[in-house]
Assembly symmetry: C3
């Protein structure tokens, strides 16, 4: 079981950062022919998701809808740090993801990319990887 | 580690297809007594979820609420293919799921079924399975 | 591969129950240095999520937003048991979660806690754990 941590710096309050190339490079460096990859985000205002990476408007529309459904400000929020929306979005996308490795590479559909989902940036973030 | 791909054909634009029987059959064919099953959907407008399979109105209500929250058409969408809603719903349900195998069968609650969630059909789709 | 089932009793219709201490205790009892933990909820009106455990207002805001987006009553619901909202919330958070174990303990961010998400309580519930 191989472990790795990648650090990334996000640039905006909300941003989907495509980490697919980094993940593929990581898998190749471990020389695993067939296996699983668990990705874990140790933050409560960020998540991880798989979606279309080819057309950047898809991630814009995803952030737009989440923003519309879960507004940044709401007079009913009780949490005083002003980032309740980010916590909620993180739980909706999830903080853990299991992907498959075959022929030494990630199994991903033609249009799929892996996105680190920042909802309360810009920040320095970390992503854990476990390969087995 | 066993791998399998199942092909399914969806019939509508939005549909929850119960794949529980297919998954149970797959597990039995592999003769695994105790282990884990990872299900991965290699599409960006479809997802995977576990919910009630006994009463078909549950899946209708799930699709209804997602449709109400994330409309098919929205003048603010930037993605030009007209399926932004499908991409967003896919990320909300998720594209990967890990289940448990015990006594050669899936651990599932009495009412639980595994659904392939089609949001931009009808299409020919594929589902990846990894058992270990 | 170690397996364990924990029973919990929820107290309200909707409640996020912090199970982090129970999970940590379970991992220590198994004496696993490095590995993975799969958590599986065998219910269709409850889920599992990771979010902030330090400030209890975060979980209140999460339940508030889900309630606002997915009302308990809606004249369009077809399911007659009056808990369609709970089924939908369960699918949005998910019923399965994979976490990482290192140095005999869970990898969790400073503010992260693991929550069993009850959406149709109070009830007696069960949570499955698999460690490997």
């Amino acid at each position: 079981m191989h472990r790795e941590i990648i650090a990334i710096k996000t640039r905006k309050r909300e941003e989907l950062v495509d980490i697919t190339a980094k993940v593929r490079e990581l898998i190749r460096s471990k020389d695993i022919e067939k296996g699983c990859l668990v990705i874990f985000v140790p933050h409560t205002t960020a998540g991880i998701t798989v979606n279309e990476g080819a057309d950047p408007t898809v991630k814009e529309d995803l952030l737009y809808v989440l923003r519309k459904l879960i507004p940044h400000r709401d007079s009913e929020y009780k949490h005083l740090e002003g980032n309740s929306d980010a916590h909620i979005k993180a739980s909706l996308l999830g903080s853990s993801l299991t992907l498959l490795i075959e022929n030494g590479d990630l199994i991903l559909g033609r249009w799929q990319a892996i996105f680190f989902a920042e909802f309360d940036g810009p920040r320095q973030r970390r992503i854990h990887f476990s390969l087995y």
